[in-house]
């Protein structure tokens, strides 16, 4: 039987204005969390609802997990002000996960802003899994492609520790100050157009603001490119009982019209979703 667990803060690093990378000690979550899953944290006693954060990194041996979050309101502010050694009440890991591509397809990870958090963990998972079965795979399949979007260069947050395994991000920025001039979805379109990304040999994994996910879904649909998106909703419970965190699905009727992001997701086949 699962239960809420106290997770002790080990450290906080500010990685950009209002963005914090934190590491918590909690062995169960550290051991079980997979890319795409989230933890549901109670930032303090003042709040009724927990706050959902993607698992950004785990270390099963050390028994730690990381989150990367932006201070938006009271909940994330409380979190960012935690002192070393203080604990937060954590549920998790919750939700489904990113699944590895079918054989012959390469993972294209498309992240916007903080959406990079679960993709980073997925890149590591892919790297590990693909290394294991590397004999049967081409180099092309092995290394995921990582496309990251930011509004402007100064707000770009690079995922930590991916360089070491040879995964480097291509950047897109709205103002052209870093990498491609345009959105990260436009960058993907660009790379499809110039043949660097071949739809038939690719699977897209996206995480970022909802308008970006909608754009990504429609681009991928156009190219018959399989696309998984990780979605966000306000989550009163996080484990499937309140029916608050719903997303509208394609062709769903009656009860099936809406699915729960916390339990049926947060990762969905983008073709199933009505944005």
């Amino acid at each position: 039987m699962n239960h809420p667990r106290p997770a002790a803060l080990l450290w906080t690093r500010q990685v950009a204005r209002d963005v914090f990378h934190q590491r918590f000690a909690e062995p169960y979550i550290a051991r079980h969390a997979r890319a795409g899953q989230f933890v549901h944290l109670l930032p303090g006693t003042r709040h009724l609802f927990r706050r959902a954060l993607s698992v950004y990194a785990t270390d099963a041996k050390a028994g730690t997990f990381d989150v990367l979050h932006q201070v938006l309101g009271e909940g994330t502010r409380c979190l960012s002000q935690l002192k070393k050694g203080q604990t937060v009440d954590a549920l998790g890991p919750l939700g489904n996960q990113f699944l590895v591509p079918d054989p012959g397809r390469r993972a294209i990870l498309v992240g916007g802003g903080l959406g990079m958090a679960p993709l980073r963990l997925f890149a590591l998972e892919l790297n590990q899994k693909l290394t294991k079965r590397s004999s049967r795979r081409t180099a092309l399949e092995r290394t995921p492609i990582l496309l990251l979007g930011t509004r402007t260069s100064s707000l770009a947050i690079a995922p930590f520790e991916l360089g070491g395994i040879g995964i480097r991000a291509s950047w897109a920025s709205d103002d052209g100050s870093r990498g491609f001039h345009g959105t990260v979805v436009a960058l993907l379109a660009d790379q499809i157009a110039d043949g660097r990304i071949v739809p038939e040999q690719s699977v897209v994994y996206g995480c970022g603001p909802e308008p970006m996910m909608a754009g990504l879904a429609s681009l991928c649909a156009q190219h018959h490119l399989p696309c998984w998106v990780s979605l966000e909703r306000s989550m009163p419970c996080g484990y499937g009982v309140c029916m608050g965190c719903v997303i509208r699905t394609q062709n769903g009727t009656g009860y099936e019209t809406f699915k729960r992001v916390c339990r049926d997701g947060p990762v969905f086949d983008s073709a199933q979703i009505v944005f």
């Binding site: 009982v241 309140c242 719903v246 997303i247 809406f258």
Partner: protein, 299 residues
């Protein structure tokens, strides 16, 4: 901590509230069912319902609003998909039903007569998120008729869940009690609203929703107190219960059992924790049974 209501025994007086614990599947992963007094299921209707679009919830001071809108599979899928697991779960299954007309309620009750695994029925006569949910449910005549007709249609123990959106909740309770209800469940949510001051839009897709959580506990406690003094059947207290002490207060006010709703969102083990705290409280007061506390309010 065992309690007995309408001839049914419950392991503890701490139950889950309708709409806040799913249909058992999710809660089983967090709460040992044997330690749950009862699992009250999300309201089920005749036909499947999609519910309202997102956003469906919003946090408020000491509480929350919801306009889920009764998303559910409908009674047939419920019986096929959910009831078998509920039957296997080692807790009491209280099936909460909702209709748009008295005929709906009667049909639902009849349908559940024929199947196994149903320990009790709870009539949701108080949903603020569907058309006429409150209009009907706040009319004692309609409540009388509805309970009367359902009573004739089923032998299952019958709990009637009433609305606090009324000037006279006691009349609603009396209407139910006089027509054969076995217990009164009180309260459902209060009608409320929240507005986004940046977009000027309501924060709920359905504009208004139901207020629950600690914010409404005083309203619930007053309702339970008044109803318990007015009717002879047991009262099941609901509203803002977060701790064993909260539960104790409801028993003192006259509730024979309580349901835990919003607290489950914050803590999926809430009913187990609340039961443990209540047991500890009873010990500290030298009371052997939860029932020793019921209606002990000193006025």
């Amino acid at each position: 901590m065992q309690v007995s209501i309408a001839g049914v025994t419950f392991a503890t007086p701490i139950w889950t509230a309708s709409g806040t614990a799913g249909t058992g599947e999710e809660i089983e992963q967090w709460c040992d069912p044997e330690k749950l007094g009862a699992m009250v299921t999300k309201s089920v209707s005749l036909k499947p319902r999609s519910g309202h679009p997102y956003p469906r919830t919003v946090e408020t001071a000491g509480g929350m609003l919801n306009c889920i809108g009764l998303q559910n599979k409908g009674i047939e899928a419920f019986i096929t998909d959910e009831l078998p697991r509920l039957r296997r779960m080692l807790t009491r299954a209280v099936i909460n039903i909702v209709g748009e007309s008295i005929e709906d309620y009667v049909q639902l009750a009849r349908r559940l007569n024929d199947v196994e695994g149903v320990d009790c029925l709870e009539l949701n006569l108080s949903c603020p998120n569907v058309a006429r949910g409150i209009d009907q449910g706040s009319d004692p005549m309609w409540v009388s008729q509805c309970v009367h007709d359902v009573r004739s249609a089923t032998r299952l123990p019958l709990f009637v869940k009433i609305t606090p959106n009324t000037n006279d909740i006691v009349s609603l309770a009396r209407a139910a009690a006089d027509n054969g209800a076995d217990a009164i469940s009180a309260i459902n949510t209060l009608v409320g609203m929240a507005i986004n001051h940046n977009t000027f839009k309501p924060r709920l897709s359905n504009i208004t929703g139901g207020l629950s959580g600690p914010a409404i506990k005083p309203v619930a406690l007053a309702a339970v107190y008044k109803i318990a003094r007015a009717v002879k059947i047991p009262v099941i207290g609901i509203g803002g219960i977060m701790t064993g002490i909260d539960a104790a207060e409801f028993l003192i006010a006259g509730a024979s059992a309580v349901q835990v709703g919003t607290a489950l969102f914050r803590n999926p083990t809430a009913p187990i924790q609340i039961a443990a705290e209540l047991a500890e409280y009873l010990r500290s007061k030298g009371l052997a049974h939860a029932s020793d506390l019921v209606g002990r309010v000193a006025v």
